[in-house]
């Protein structure tokens, strides 16, 4: 099996609303604004859009967004499963749509009031009991109080610390890196507010071993990306960010956020599956990646992602991080927008936009000589990843 759409498509436009804690607007308003901004950025009249892809937990149906955009005909529309795990999956599906001819211009978007309306971090405490498989799956954790995303991730983190000797400081260093980049990104919620490792260690427990500063924000806002073929993208306004490859992965004995029953729970095999597909289809390797957007809903799972993509050996991410390799001048600066801890938590889509800016050379925290950018999606759920490359 190999992905046939490698290098075929590109991200031609990016658009977002301001990222806030209380937008005062409907998510639909913001979805439409972000989509229009992505078209505007690409120089594409919105009525030319004929494909739309979003991902689960999205509450703004694509047909309503399309109506508001003035899009008359949609020939591809899909909803990718597993929330933030689908951040790169929407791009993969968009690639498939334009590669197959199902659509020419595909908008991928996410919009919500995740802070001022329903708080995402509250978890599943209010889910009513039911007999469907989704509800039954929660019965193995919710009656015991394991109801929040932070708690689901913390279970992996404790075991990872135990097996590899990582510490909460190693998690904190990820947070410090994110906040350092956010501090110089005017678009970030934490613009001009860097933190120290001491700040991290002094922040309150959310779910041990996770502290407040290990957890991403909850954000009101929207982000949209426009995908088309690399050929068509050449005729649009911006330098195309070629999608070298984009892939999805779910691995053996996969559960939603709680894949606790595998022989080992310190790796992320579904992300390893993505890495394998990306590298095989693109012909690239870890050595070819200059900067990355590593999904950071919670810091601990950044570590095994670095290992799954081969930036370091298994169990050695803590050393890679202690050596400063994620920082501005390091081997692999990550989350140069400030990440979801520092900029905003738009379920990964804002990170992909930053990847596009790194290819264009327009990031506020631009890394020198960027050839390829890796972006990953939500971990612990079935996930996805992509590599963006310079056009030929």
């Amino acid at each position: 099996m190999t992905l046939k759409y490698a290098y075929h498509s590109a991200i031609a436009g990016i658009g977002a609303t301001p990222f806030t804690k209380d937008s005062g607007r409907t998510p639909m308003d913001q979805a439409v604004e972000a989509c229009l901004a992505a078209c505007e950025d690409a120089g594409l009249p919105p009525e030319k859009v004929n494909g739309m892809v979003t991902y689960s937990a999205e509450q703004n149906p694509e047909i309503e967004v399309a109506r508001n955009l003035g899009v008359d005909e949609l020939t591809h529309f899909s909803m990718v499963h597993h929330g933030g795990g689908a951040a790169c999956g929407v791009i993969a599906v968009a690639c498939q749509a334009v590669y197959s001819g199902a659509a020419d211009y595909v908008l991928c978007y996410r919009a919500f009031n995740e802070r001022s309306w329903h708080r995402f971090g509250a978890g599943v405490q209010d889910r009513p009991a039911g007999a469907e498989a989704t509800e039954v799956s929660f019965s193995w954790s919710s009656p015991f109080g394991l109801v929040t995303p932070a708690s689901w991730v913390a279970m992996f983190a404790t075991r990872y610390m135990h097996e590899f000797g990582a510490t909460t400081e190693d998690f904190g260093r990820v947070s410090v890196v994110d906040r350092a980049f956010a501090a110089t990104n005017p678009y970030a919620h934490f613009f001009q507010r860097p933190i120290t490792l001491e700040d991290h260690q002094n922040s309150r427990w959310i779910v041990e071993p996770l502290r407040l500063l290990d957890c991403c924000q909850e954000t009101d806002g929207a982000q949209a990306l426009l995908v088309t073929t690399a050929e068509r993208a050449k005729d649009l306004k911006q330098k195309p960010a070629v999608i070298a490859s984009a892939a999805q992965g779910a691995a053996e004995d996969q559960h939603m956020m709680r894949s606790y029953y595998r022989d080992s729970i310190t790796g992320i095999p579904e992300m390893g599956l993505c890495a394998h597909q990306l590298y095989q289809s693109s012909g690239l390797s870890a050595d070819d990646i200059q900067t990355a957007i590593i999904y950071d809903h919670f810091t601990p799972l950044v570590l095994p992602q670095l290992e799954e993509f081969g930036f370091c050996q298994r169990g050695e991410a803590k050393d890679f991080i202690r050596d400063g390799h994620l920082e501005r001048a390091g081997r692999l600066p990550i989350n140069t927008n400030g990440g979801q801890l520092g900029e905003a938590y738009i379920h990964g889509l804002n990170g992909i936009a930053e990847g596009v800016r790194q290819i264009r050379g327009t990031s506020v925290n631009q890394i020198g000589n960027v050839e390829n950018v890796l972006a990953t999606a939500g971990t612990a759920v079935p996930t996805s990843a992509l590599i963006l490359s310079q056009p030929n």
Binding site: F144, G145, L146
Partner: protein, 468 residues
């Protein structure tokens, strides 16, 4: 009434009590010599299985060459027993107690006990104790109520007049209903808690919840290839069979990973909330709560045992507490023990049976240890464990870790939160010092027993260990 006493009257009363300080009572000789039935009753009630106390053959090979009484029984032998209490005019302690009772300080709770053992007691030894009143405190406001601490020291001699041990003992005599929390509403215990999220279930998983309702931890099993699977599925991932049944897990496991939840707080739970990923001996894992130990006592790998917590009328959840490890059958050698070594946690479920039977086994017939109505009348929420049992269980805990041949030199405890029924006290401890004294190799163990209200017993013990 004493609540109407002026400061001057209080001072006069305290002075009257204190006039007794320094006096000793008449020697009290035990009603019975050290005997096997009382020892056996004690060991049964305390669940102390050290064979040196009950098995003549094992005792013959032990450090004393014959049956000995558990050292913590020291003051049980001279306890008055179930006979009408006659105040001994010569006994300064009982005189003080009577004066306090009369003044309204009818509540009583022991707070400190410090035993020193010069030698272990053998069958036939006949003990005599002499009590000396060493202190009566000023009136104090305590959590339990306003009262006076009364401190005594008792010296124990055998039938030959040889000094075999001593006890430093302190009790609080208090006025019921005058505690710091009296009348106050305790948010946590009186607020109605919404039930936990109800487990969702269907035909694939009913067997699990039916099992836990009846106290069984059931794991799905393929009836063709015997493979276990949790969470349950509709088909065997090993052989593809749809012929699924279940096995009943033994309930033993180890902590594979854990979290301690602080925020956000769901009203159905107490926080911080310990949630573990438990790997059962059968090989599968499940998420559950780790009860009866502090979040700071959780360790990956710690042995656990299941119990079932009823959360709804028709739902019980399998949850886990630290496992009680089997007794150490080979006594630890002095050189194998290091300062900083931690003793394994040991849960002691506080059943009414344990509280009553240990009180009786230690010959403590105070009604507060077996009669709920009397206990509440005297200012307690319920019957509660007597201090001699707290000593006995502490000794059992250390003895089970150190091994049968460890010789206790002393046992010092301080009590805090009472041990009420239907709670669980979990013992923890560590080696805090090692030294040579009088040709003996001594390890000092510091320990604590915590129940859901906080530390119940805190103490230290010196044990002599064999050198190799």
């Amino acid at each position: 009434m004493s609540d109407e006493m002026t400061d001057a009257q209080k001072e006069a009363f305290a002075a009257k009590l204190r006039r007794e300080v320094g006096n000793t009572g008449t020697p009290t000789t035990a009603r019975d010599p050290v005997n096997q039935p009382m020892i056996r009753h004690w060991c049964d009630a305390m669940e102390d299985a050290n064979p040196l106390y009950t098995d003549p053959d094992a005792a013959k090979r032990g450090p004393h060459q014959e049956i000995t009484a558990p050292p913590a029984m020291l003051n049980a032998w001279t306890m008055i027993g179930l006979v009408p209490r006659v105040s001994d005019p010569e006994d300064p302690a009982s005189g003080v107690y009577a004066m306090l009772d009369e003044a309204g300080y009818v509540g009583v709770v022991a707070t400190n006990s410090e035993h020193v053992y010069h030698r272990y007691l053998k069958l036939g030894d006949h003990l005599t104790g002499v009590v000396k009143l060493v202190d009566v405190s000023d009136e104090k406001q305590t959590a339990l109520g306003i009262g006076h601490f009364v401190t005594t020291e008792t010296e124990y001699h055998d039938q030959h007049g040889n000094h075999v041990g001593s006890m430093f003992f302190r009790i609080l005599k208090f006025r019921p209903g005058t505690g710091r929390t009296a009348g106050a509403i305790d948010g946590d215990s009186t607020t109605e808690r919404p039930p936990r999220p109800r487990p969702s279930r269907n035909q694939n998983t009913d067997f699990f919840w039916q099992g836990s309702r009846g106290g069984e931890l059931r794991i799905q099993q393929c009836l063709d290839c015997q493979r276990l699977q949790h969470p349950p599925g509709t088909r065997c991932p090993g052989c593809g069979a749809t012929n699924m049944g279940h096995t009943v897990a033994c309930g033993k496991g180890a902590l594979y990973s854990y979290v301690v939840a602080h925020h956000p707080r769901v009203p159905s739970f107490d926080y911080p909330l310990s949630i573990g990923l438990v790997e059962l001996e059968e090989g599968v894992r499940l998420v559950s709560n780790i009860t009866d130990c502090g979040p700071d006592q959780l360790k990956v790998g710690m042995p656990l045992e299941a119990w079932h917590m009823q959360t709804h009328e028709d739902v019980s959840l399998p949850v886990f507490r630290p496992a009680r490890l089997p007794r150490n059958l080979t006594t630890l050698a002095f050189d194998d023990v290091n300062v900083g070594d931690e003793l394994p946690l040991c849960p002691i479920p506080l059943t009414p049976t344990l509280i009553v039977s240990t009180a009786i086994a230690s010959r403590d017939y105070q009604d507060v240890h077996h009669d709920r109505d009397m206990a509440t009348k005297k200012g307690s929420e319920d019957i509660f464990m007597n201090i001699l049992t707290s000593s006995g269980l502490s000794a059992r805990y250390v003895g089970d870790w150190a091994g049968s041949d460890a010789v206790f030199k002393n046992l010092k405890i301080r009590l805090g939160a009472p041990n009420y029924p239907d709670d669980c006290m979990t013992m923890s401890g560590s080696v805090t010092a090692k030294r040579e004294a009088d040709g003996e190799a001594i390890a000092e163990i510091s320990f604590q027993g915590r129940n859901s209200r906080g530390p119940h017993v805190t103490g230290t013990v010196d044990v002599a260990l064999p050198r190799a």
